[in-house]
Assembly symmetry: C2
Homo-oligomer: 231 residues x 2
């Protein structure tokens, strides 16, 4: 049976984890920056190095920090967003879950595109244009555009100025790609065109055009998906 003693100080470890998180947030330690070492943390928080080690381990599991061998502990690029934040692991009927994820995209992304058109700054629009180009280049070269595609949709979410949606979009979109990837030339050229339309509408601050372009983009993909994957 499990060695229960190993877990007996759970609340102290949890408590220490939360203190380290507080320390990161309050001192504005940015992504990729190094944390104080084990000895310093132990002294600062008044707990044993063993507790610090366990607390760090818990934060690694939560994607808040990452350990680089021989270099130390750093604030993770993953920004504390969990690997499977929505608990999809436990949903049975996995083959149909991506349809539910696409349904959520249909609900969320068009109004977000509209908000993006309303609120995007020049700098954000420039970055969106760059990502639009990046996806296009990958598609024309016959390479997998999925990561850049998610970045494109996440950048639209950032333009919306809603601070939570940029964390939500990559979670949903990444989950979809687990289930299916379409690689057809026809889809590729349509994606290039659709992304360009969305980008131009946001750039011109045309809310309704951005919303419509997003609806068309998602509807085309869903329609294609239904034909490709037998549901």
């Amino acid at each position: 049976m499990l060695n229960i003693d190993e877990f007996s100080s759970k609340s102290l470890v949890e408590n220490t984890s939360e203190k380290i998180v507080k320390l990161i947030v309050e001192n504005e330690v940015s992504v990729g920056q190094k944390l104080p070492n084990e000895y310093e943390l132990s002294k600062q928080l008044g707990v044993s190095r063993n507790t610090i080690r366990e607390a760090i381990r818990a934060l690694v599991s939560r994607n808040i920090v990452e350990i680089r061998r021989g270099a130390g502990t750093f604030v993770s690029q993953k920004l504390g967003i969990a690997d499977d934040p929505l608990g999809l692991t436990f949903i049975k009927d996995k083959e149909k879950v991506y349809l539910d994820l696409i349904q959520i995209r249909f609900i969320l992304e068009p109004p977000i595109a509209s908000l993006a058109a309303q609120n995007a700054t020049e700098e954000e629009i420039e970055k969106l244009g760059q990502l639009c180009d990046d996806v296009e280049k990958l598609l024309l070269a016959g390479k997998d555009p999925v990561e850049k595609d998610i970045e494109f949709h996440t950048q639209i979410a950032k333009c919306s100025k809603n601070r939570v949606v940029p964390n939500l979009i990559p979670i949903i979109n990444a989950a979809i790609t687990v289930f299916t990837r379409i690689k057809e030339n026809k889809v590729a050229s349509r994606t290039i065109e659709a992304h360009r339309e969305i980008f131009e509408a946001i750039k011109a601050h045309q809310c309704n055009d951005a919303q419509d372009a997003m609806i068309l983009h998602l509807a085309y993909n869903r329609n294609k998906l239904r034909k490709t994957v037998q549901i």
Copy 2:
């Protein structure tokens, strides 16, 4: 500095964690059920008991399993849904984040209410009615209805038959309650009325009515919130 050796077998531990998850899903071990003990897992997966212990620890951090002292390891009630799945910990400007969360509710919940009216089974409707009653009783007794309120909205998500939204709604709604709780009698009576309207529309399978009732419910609350909390 950190004792790096402690983390050197990270990928083996991660790998083992994933194998345990697979074991849970494939054997359909339900919430609250016990996992095989450390010795059995070690034998079954061909890794040391130390690795099993670390893998279990990682799964505890991810809310997939929980340890009950002296009893063993069980599949967690939290269903692998992370504590802060959206990484809100790292969002600065916390005082404004709840407005963004409400904006997401505005986008998501009305169409979900419409889907609920379309797809709810008799059994699901009965449970929704029960939760409607529960919230009403708590409000009339002047007690905090937040948990039951989240259950009510989550049950609507379940009625929609989208398998992901029921995991999303409690995350968003619970995050909002962290920031603000309104306790006014006027709001209470309006909430009772609004919940009843939503419930009746879903029960009658009236999609548009359910959507409208949800919009009115959220709009009233947001309006109230803007007046109560100075933004």
